[in-house]
């Protein structure tokens, strides 16, 4: 088995594991995005629906993995399709299951609770989001100190095996552009984290969720720093993949503990404001970010005008970052 096939198979297995774990990562009172109460999944109907969903998803990803492993020398486009197709089918299965669960939805009183303590702003541990910025900054200093060792033909793209497959002439933009891009992406994540902290309800926020977000910044800082150093330091791609898989596994575990435990705080959002359990539109709700009903984390309240301002701002920032990386790495 060649290396890309091995890696694509690993990605397919990871995707399958996440899709099969999705119902367990969602808040307990939610079942496939439908408010059924925490007890429903233990009933006969709940168990049957869950078993069938997992069976289908397991089937889609097993089939894709079997084709990947069993057939060698496929075209790149076929390999990509084999990675994406089971995910699309799994999402379709999830949607089908959502419609199966809907008849079991509960109508519960719309009770809200709030603590009458003044605003506290960002959490005290917010400074922990700053160290990841040191990685790319240190890499910039390192590359500047070893400027003469950087090859004149500077690699800007790497293959599955970590070997360069595209080069440009050595320049400040080519060498440091990727690392400035890394700092920009970390800043984008930091701003998104702060926006979620300010624009979501504090009383029902599981503390692990912002922690996972900051953990993601450490992962991104580490990976992008290693990639930025690749011309001088050869890092195995498998190590980067392993690091990412380990983080996803740890995040899923923390998310499950924070979100899916019976005593996890629950956010009361009106059922009629949700579409397919995943799109939230409520013009009467001042929150910009609300807890997801499927999986853990936050989604945007599309009924709030400020959500569009925030999304537009992040979109522009992202576009600027994409332009920076294109400009610095162009041949």
């Amino acid at each position: 088995m060649t290396r890309p096939v091995w890696m694509l198979t690993a990605i397919v297995i990871l995707e399958g594991a996440v899709m099969m774990a999705l119902p367990y990562l969602s808040p307990r009172r939610m079942f496939f995005g439908v408010r059924t109460g925490a007890e429903f999944r233990a009933t006969g109907a709940g168990r049957k629906i869950l078993a069938q969903y997992i069976g289908w998803v397991f089937g889609w990803f097993s089939l894709a993995a079997a084709i990947l492993i069993g057939t060698g020398g496929l075209e790149d486009s076929t390999l990509a399709a084999l990675t994406i197709a089971p995910m699309v089918l799994a999402l379709a299965t999830f949607l089908w299951t959502y419609f199966r669960v809907r008849p079991y939805a509960l109508k519960v009183p719309d009770v809200r609770e709030a603590e009458l303590s003044p605003e506290r702003g960002l959490p005290w541990w917010g400074w922990l989001a700053l160290p990841p910025f040191a990685g790319p900054a240190a890499a910039i200093f390192y590359l500047r100190a070893h400027w003469s060792e950087i090859p004149e033909r500077y690699p800007v793209h790497f293959g599955w095996n970590g070997a360069p497959d595209r080069w440009v002439a050595k320049s400040e933009a080519a060498v440091f552009g990727r690392l400035w891009f890394s700092e920009g992406m970390l800043l984008l994540m930091l701003l998104l984290w702060a926006a979620v902290m300010i624009g979501s309800r504090k009383s029902v926020r599981p503390t692990a969720i912002p922690g996972i977000f900051v953990g993601g910044m450490y992962l991104m800082g580490a990976v992008l720093t290693i990639v930025g150093l690749m011309p001088l330091v050869r890092a195995p791609v498998t190590a980067l993949l392993g690091l990412t898989v380990a983080f996803v596994a740890a995040a899923c575990m923390a998310g499950w503990r924070a979100n899916a435990m019976p005593n996890a705080p629950a956010e009361a959002t009106p059922d009629e404001c949700w579409t397919l359990g995943s799109i939230y539109v409520n013009s009467n709700d001042p929150a910009i970010f609300v807890q997801k009903r499927i999986g853990f984390g936050y989604t945007v309240n599309l009924g709030n005008i400020w959500s569009y301002v925030v999304l537009g701002g992040f979109g522009l920032f992202g576009a600027a970052m994409a332009t920076l990386i294109w400009w610095s790495q162009r041949g």
């Binding site: 009183p109 719309d110 009770v111 709030a114 603590e115 303590s117 003044p118 709700d285 001042p286």
Partner: protein
Amino acid sequence: MAGGPKIRIDLSSQVPAYRQIVDAIRVLLVNGDLRPGSDLPSVRQLAMELGVHFNTVGEGYRQLAEEGWLDLRHGRGARVIARGTPAAASPERLEEFRVRMRNMIAEMRATGIPAAKIAGELRALMEVLQ
């Protein structure tokens, strides 16, 4: 960190949300759970926590300010202020309360709650809100 006092509203209730906010905060004020000098969350913050419109919380805060409980500071939320003991309610105001109580007690009786139980509940509430 110890949590502050909490209020709870039911958006599916027929009682308007701002009215529920006023009633819930007034109970805390009368009960001494919120003392003069205590800061309340800003209108934006409380509206977000309760998932209601800013105007709903703003209206509730304004009503409590009119009753002399709160000092509203523009853009900085509200602070509980010392409130002098108001003069005894006028006979008209007393009659208004009497009508409201009579209606509520009639509603309780209509749902099958015995008179003795209602009297006990009223006594217990009076002790709490002394």
